[in-house]
Amino acid sequence: MLHNGIIIPTQIALLYGIYLIGKGIQNLFDLFIPGSVIGMILLFILLSFKVVPEWLLQRGITFMIRHLPFFFIPATVGIISYAYVFKGKGMLLIGIGLLSTVLVMALAGLVTQWMVRRREEA
């Protein structure tokens, strides 16, 4: 337990470091892709080429992913400042969100299914 109390924060600090590098790259090249996503791609490459061994970050990553919802509570709470948006006509936004979600789900799924089936038949 005490062991984890040291390892997990250290590994999260390492992830933070990668995030900062990603942010640095974003600023350097003036990219519109968020620094965090650049950091994610970077870490994927580092893991794939075995530059970073899995064990070095594994526990911190597992911890973060398991408790992912925790990290966005403060931002979600911010809705109290914007609750008025969903009043009246704002209710429409919920419908728009749902309709768009159905479209994504069906189209992305069907295109993939069609391509996979064609491969399986070939």
Binding site: I12, L15, Y19, G22, K23, F32, I33, P34, G35, S36, V37, G39, M40, L42, L43, F44, L47, S48, G60, I61, M64, I65, L68, P69, F70, F71, F72, I73, P74, A75, T76, V77, G78, I79, I80, Y82, V85, F86, L92, L93, I96, G97, L98, L99, S100, T101, V102, L103, V104, M105, A106, A108, G109, L110, V111, T112, Q113, W114, M115, V116
Partner: protein, 219 residues
């Protein structure tokens, strides 16, 4: 910050005992924190003095998503073309339909920018929203609508669209309903769940690349 941690841990316990959609920890803890702030009339700004420390960890949390992508690299390699194509279609449809529908309904650009990244996981959606001029808390709500809504609607979509293949189902779920949908897929079928994980992470990369350009084009 202590308040957030306490309410999160409490809601986690509640969720473990009663697994229901409405007991999802984010929803319960958010409600608890909001009720607390309203009850004691604490302004959001005051709460965020401590809250911003948690907020800062969103970046590294996104970085951590590289790990599931790495774990499923075999699946990704085998089905690379169909998964990437399907996810890209999903990204374009998600951004396009959200944007055009809300524009057509006459909502302000601030709201449109907040709805655009709704189909990707919260931390990424917030980063996108922030960099394109949306409002992060609004985006969080739209992400929630896409996640919970998609999870509930998924069986219907599958039945009426003839989506029967596990790989197709996984891509559909991951690119529309991110982590919440992925969790539901995982419970149904391991292959569908891992494809959904891959699609969710890929989708956050693709959406963050496509969103700014497509928004400029359509708005």
């Amino acid at each position: 910050m202590v308040l957030t941690i306490v309410s999160y841990i409490a809601s986690l316990h509640l969720y473990r005992q009663h697994r229901r959609i409405y007991t999802t920890p984010v929803i319960i803890s958010t409600l608890v924190v909001i009720v607390f702030l309203l009850l004691f009339q604490v302004p959001y700004e005051t709460y965020m003095i401590g809250g911003k420390w948690i907020d800062r960890l969103l970046g590294p949390a996104v970085v951590a998503l590289a790990y599931p992508l790495y774990q499923y690299r075999k699946v990704l390699k085998e089905m690379f073309v169909p998964i990437v194509t399907g996810t890209t279609v999903g990204a374009v449809v998600g951004i396009g339909s959200g944007l055009l529908l809300s524009k057509w309904a006459g909502f302000s650009n601030l709201i449109i920018h907040s709805i655009v990244p709704k189909s990707v996981t919260t931390p990424v959606a917030m980063s996108i929203s922030e960099s394109t001029g949306g409002v992060m808390p609004l985006t969080a709500v739209f992400v929630m609508i896409a996640g919970i809504g998609g999870m509930l609607i998924h069986p219907l979509v599958m039945r009426y669209s003839g989506l029967t293949h596990s790989v197709g189902r996984g891509v559909g779920m991951g690119s529309a309903s991110h982590a919440i949908g992925t969790a539901a897929s995982m419970e149904r079928d391991a292959l569908e769940g891992s494809i959904s994980t891959v699609a969710m992470v890929l989708s956050s990369v693709i959406v963050s690349i496509v969103a700014p350009g497509l928004t400029l084009l359509l708005l």
